[in-house]
């Protein structure tokens, strides 16, 4: 027999209760995921503190390096005839060793690299070698890259954090965030300037 309208109405009410329960379950899931996002965010903030600290110590050590280099540059007689003579014998060995390594390991054309290396060695002074200038320049390059990586990640996170802020606003979750700074975008780290400009060092 056909089902009456009244019965259809009752069945709709029954079915809606189930849907209602499922929506509530979904909202409970959202709350659990939100808690996990909050935890991850707390861990992120604490990492931020450690990054700041490591950056400060790195920059202090780089400052000390700069001071020592400046004093060494000022001290007399560093680049004397002996060092210059040694440098003239050191360069060909460096070039030969480097080109052998490059051909064996780097697996790409070494023509241009050889010419660039020749120019680099002729432009450089033994002083640069003597103070480990290559290691300082590697550090500065990495400092630059690290700053860039951090900026990009912060920018990304801040944009997502603003949206999550709105997403998790109180209308879904009665609990007010105690920490109104929740997801607060942290300031970007002031990127340390490059203390030594690499080019000026080669001239020496």
């Amino acid at each position: 027999r056909a089902v009456s309208d009244k019965e259809l109405q009752e069945m709709s009410t029954e079915g809606s209760k189930y849907i209602n329960k499922e929506i509530k379950n979904a909202l409970k899931e959202v709350k659990q995921i939100k808690t996990l996002i909050e935890q991850t965010n707390e861990e992120r903030k604490s990492l931020l503190g450690s990054l700041e600290e490591a950056k400060k110590k790195k920059e202090d050590a780089l400052n000390d390096t700069k001071d020592s280099e400046t004093k060494l540059k000022a001290s007399q007689g560093v680049c004397n005839e002996t060092m210059t003579a040694l440098w003239e014998e050191c360069k060909p060995c460096l070039k030969q060793t480097c080109m052998k390594f490059y051909a064996r390991v780097c697996r790409s054309g070494s023509g241009l690299v050889g010419q660039q290396l020749e120019e680099f060695l002729n432009q450089s002074s033994p002083f640069y070698l003597w103070i480990n200038g290559d290691r300082i320049d590697s550090l500065l390059e990495n400092d630059r890259q690290q700053g860039h990586v951090m900026d990009v990640m912060e920018d990304s996170f801040n944009r997502a954090a603003n949206i999550m802020d709105e997403l998790f606003q109180d209308r879904f979750f009665p609990r007010k965030f105690q920490d109104t700074q929740y997801y607060s975008p942290f300031s970007s780290f002031p990127r340390g300037s490059l203390f030594f400009h690499p080019k000026s060092r080669f001239a020496r």
Partner: protein, 216 residues
């Protein structure tokens, strides 16, 4: 009372959940944006004195040749330069420089490791947003479909069995329902399933079909 959220006025379900889907997507895209913009090889992976990665040296040789100076240890005359010092004050200064240089390298490596952990937190947040998306998008999309003020989230329009509709295989009951203002779903339930399990089975199947479709 089918009102899901006592805090809500009658059925502002649409306003409540409709924006959710877009916002999760936007948050996920914002979070993933950095993945395509930064070199994943964190620069300070290795250091001189450890097995610096050949890739790093090759890169430095190509970039500005400084990578070649890392081979000074293999050249005797270069070693002699490194051991030169005119007087004790120079020796001391150079020692200081090397000490601060090692310290800077140590903290740069630490910073690199922390950066990688930080990036992992970003990835974790991104995957949680993805989970959020999977768990909740169907509600948001349902809200998208809700226009009328019907009191029902699930609306049964017809119920047929083989006796009232010969096209229905015998032993089955065919129910046509809509979720909010969605397109109609046809759900079949074995006849032995009786109330109140019956409507729960119908609703469960309808929701499964809907969520499956919304994932697609």
């Amino acid at each position: 009372n089918v009102m899901p959220f006592p805090v809500l006025e009658p059925l502002n379900f649409h306003d409540m959940f409709q924006p959710f889907f877009d916002m999760i997507q936007q948050a996920q895209q914002a979070m993933d944006a950095h993945m395509h913009r930064i070199p994943y090889h964190f620069p300070m992976a290795e250091f001189p004195g450890e097995n610096i990665s050949d890739r790093t040296v090759c890169k430095e040789i190509r970039h500005n040749s400084t990578g070649c100076l890392k081979m000074k240890d293999q050249c005797e005359k270069c070693q002699e330069i490194l051991s030169m010092a005119n007087d004790s004050s120079q020796m001391q200064l150079r020692q200081q420089l090397n000490t601060s240089l090692q310290l800077a390298e140590k903290f740069s490596k630490l910073y690199d490791q922390l950066l990688q952990s930080y990036q992992q937190k970003m990835l974790n947040t991104s995957s949680l947003l993805k989970q959020l998306n999977e768990q909740f998008t169907w509600v948001s999309q349902l809200a998208n479909l809700t226009h009328s003020d019907s009191q029902h989230y699930l609306h049964v329009s017809t119920v047929n069995s083989h006796s009232s509709d010969p096209s229905v295989p015998s032993g089955l009951t065919k129910v046509v329902v809509k979720l909010f203002d969605s397109y109609p779903f046809t759900v079949t339930v074995p006849q032995e399933v009786s109330s109140p399990k019956f409507m729960e089975t119908v609703a469960e199947k309808a929701l499964q079909q809907y969520r499956q479709k919304s994932r697609e």
